[in-house]
């Protein structure tokens, strides 16, 4: 079925040069129940529990002499609505520590206008939000240009036992505010593979108004050996005013022993100036918020945190695999919004391409934290109030093609 379609697509797309065009996709949908929201426990149909649902087109053309051209266009698709994006169950609600103690009009402006409505995934309904790039593979490495995954994200996804899947992923602790840039626009990437060793260097030009704004520098290097994997990744970004903004550094290792895979990861998250600070500042100034108060708001969006992850996966053979993980975010700022999460995930294969998944995750929020568990393709948002914990149960099915 797949091959037939590919051939047909190839015939349609390429009258002249020979290129292999692949239509591919992944459908992941299920029922989730998450406790601790302002409205209580929420039961929903959610798309993207283990992995974001998608479809895409890949084209690959062999140019000979070790040269290849690659294209990937990958669109998000929300199976619960058919749409391109999603919003958290908590809507515009912000963590209390962003709004607490601010004058009511300012807190309301942040919640209802300046920040709250921006919480979600692909709210601009970008067609190829997941990936859109063209690449040239050469004997000395690959060059990719377009919207791509960042090097630090690649390292993070490698050493997160859950590979960023489900509420149990360490990534779920750094969603609001964002602690890791997953993808970047206008990015140029150089990749090289040498045996078990690979590395990537990315320069993201963002979508800034001038050549100093929104720049991201990303780098990673991963060693994937037979006995163990180890790697490092780093993203460092400037905001539109050219100030040092989010910087995420990832160190990870994993080892396979028989039916076990054990992983550990440490991530450092530093954001000395808010990534969207200049835009937020301009909006609040227009809204008549006095400058000292804007400084207070921007200060609350700064980050300085460590994220620790440990996890183990046990392979059950034909019965799938089971994973346990523990994640801890240590907020080093005075806000002290520490979060820990732990749980168990079970994947049962119906076939090579279709599996069933069950994930149970507990989020423990410290007195000033209020993260709610989400999924790979959507945000959990925030619990009812600071310090409110949450439990997430997700039962879903995933099919890839």
């Amino acid at each position: 079925m797949k091959k037939t379609f590919i051939a047909a697509a190839a015939t349609l797309a390429c009258a002249g040069a020979w290129a292999q065009v692949t239509l591919y996709g992944l459908a992941d949908v299920g029922i989730t129940r998450v406790s601790g929201y302002a409205q209580g426990s929420v039961t929903q149909l959610n798309s993207g529990i283990m992995e974001g649902s998608r479809w895409g087109i890949k084209s690959e053309e062999d140019l000979g002499g070790g040269y290849k051209a690659l294209v990937t266009l990958e669109s998000r698709v929300e199976l619960d609505t058919g749409g391109l994006g999603n919003r958290p169950a908590s809507g515009n609600q912000l963590p209390d520590r962003l709004t607490a103690g601010l004058p009511p009009a300012v807190a309301a402006a942040l919640t209802n206008a300046a920040i709250g409505p921006s919480l979600g995934v692909n709210l601009t309904n970008t067609a190829f939000d997941r990936q859109a790039w063209v690449g040239l593979v050469t004997p000395v490495g690959g060059f990719l240009m377009g919207r791509q995954y960042t090097p630090a994200f690649e390292a993070f996804a490698t050493f997160d036992t859950m590979n960023t899947q489900s509420a149990l992923s360490a990534a779920q602790l750094v969603t609001i505010p964002v602690g890791l840039d997953i993808r970047y626009n206008n990015a140029v990437q150089y990749r090289i593979v040498q045996g078990p060793w690979n590395a990537a260097l990315m320069y993201g030009m963002g979508e800034g108004a001038n050549s100093s704004s929104n720049r991201l520098l990303g780098i990673n290097t991963l060693y994937k050996g037979s006995a163990f994997n180890v790697g490092f990744g780093m993203n460092s970004k400037k905001n539109s005013a050219g100030q040092q903004a989010l910087k995420t550094t990832v160190l990870g290792a994993s080892t396979a022993r028989g039916d076990w895979i054990v992983s550990g990861m440490f991530a450092r998250i530093q954001e000395p100036n808010p990534s969207s600070g200049p835009e937020l500042s301009a909006g609040l100034t227009l809204g008549g918020v006095p400058a000292p108060l804007i400084s207070t708001v921007l200060d609350r969006l700064k980050q300085d945190a460590n994220l620790i992850h440990v996890g183990a996966r046990y392979n059950l053979g034909a019965a799938g695999h089971i994973t346990v993980a523990y994640n801890k975010l240590n907020d080093k700022r005075a806000s002290n919004a520490d979060i820990s999460s732990y749980g168990v995930a079970y994947t049962y294969p119906l076939s090579k391409r279709t599996n069933l998944n069950a994930v149970l995750t507990r989020f423990n929020n410290s007195a000033t934290a209020q993260a709610a568990p989400g999924g790979n393709g959507y945000l959990g948002g925030v619990t009812a109030t600071a310090g409110r914990d949450s439990t997430s149960l997700a039962l879903g099915m995933r099919h890839s093609f």
């Binding site: 000292p292 400084s295 310090g387």
Partner: protein, 475 residues
Amino acid sequence: MKFLKLAAISAACISVLAGCGGGDSPDAGSSFDLSGAPGSLIATPTALTTLTPAAFTAALTQAGAASLLQVTGAPMCDITFNYFQYGTVGGAGEKTSASGGIMVPGGTDPACTGPRPVLLYAHGTSTDKNLNMANPDGNREAALVAAMYAAQGYIVVAPNYAGYESSPLPYHPYLNLEQQAQDVVDALAAARKGFAAINASANSKLFVSGYSQGGFVSMAAQRKLQLAGTPVTAGAHLSGPYNLGRFGDAVYSGNVNLGATLFSPLLNTSFQRTYGNIYASPSEMYEATFATGIETLLPSTTPLNTLLSTGKLPATALFAADSLPKPAGFELFFGTPNLIKTSYRNAVLADAVANPTAPQHPLRVAAYKNDLLAQNWTPAQPMLLCGGNADPTVFFSANTSTAKAYFNGKGVPDQAVTVLDVDSAPTGASDPFLLAKGGFAQAKAAAGSAALAKYHGELVPPFCHAAARGYFTQF
């Protein structure tokens, strides 16, 4: 010896770290206490604006209030207006939060640097739900306090009270003695937790003051702090309704005060929320025209003039035109439509006749329960009681004169309770309040026929505050 020094340094470091108990880098960013506990500082205070003496003078001039500086003196200090929120309780002990201002003096003048005295300031009655003492812009009372105290070197902590501004409490516990005292003391405790973060360096002196409702609140706070073992240095309670029970009896007997149609619903709702027995339903107490929605009418985001012009409240008619007794000179407060039902008034009057000192009617029970002169309390720290003897809003003799007599009767020495009637002739060239009295006389004469209407709200406050500041300098 060297070892001992190192050990001492280590111990100091440990205690510093332990004292913070928050994030790993307590200096980095806002800290939060979202527990809602009374006296908790919800977040590090945030500055709204800093005004230099020149900028403050210009702002007052633009607001047409430059003459205020003739009373306060020219500003000496920069003032940073900080906003903060604190945990406190409502009238029935329910957990809530409120906001307020912390005015911090700065600059280079010796009067503005180094450790400064703290003034806890309690504001007067406001119908404005959005009242914010952290913002002097368009807030005459905040501007007055800033000019009188902060610009002269006082750190001013000025809570907005539960029920105002950010507070989620759906009413204001107006003149609830215990709640209002706790409210402002909670605000002070919370503000002190934020002092270091906003460069407010406090010395050991604590003064407490307030005007009108705030005079009642500041006296209640002085009592509470004394009972808590953390007494004030001195208090200055200005034009306050300290003798709430007797004052209420006077109003119901027909000696109605100016503003009673505002004060009455604020007070009734406060007592109803706390005691639940003031009426079975609002229509038992209020005329049908006003009963619906009266419990949530004040404080309001709608301007007072609009509330009056749209008939939400009568301007002056507290009682019905035919309600008796109707003393001569108080006809203004009797009319149609009126606020309080004659049947309710009669029940209060009957109790006042039958049980003058041991009230049975729930409204009178509540008023006497919250009467500052019915607490069997002997002030241990000095206080100034200031007002004007012709005040039509808070009667001077029934409150201020009576308070002094009451405290003297409890054994408080005469010099520890100073009364100032700014509307009186100076006793001579050595009268310590010569300037306040002279200034008031001038202002009153300038106000002409509007003097009575402006008496409580505009004429008395600057001069009582000037006297209070002078009074504080002796400590």
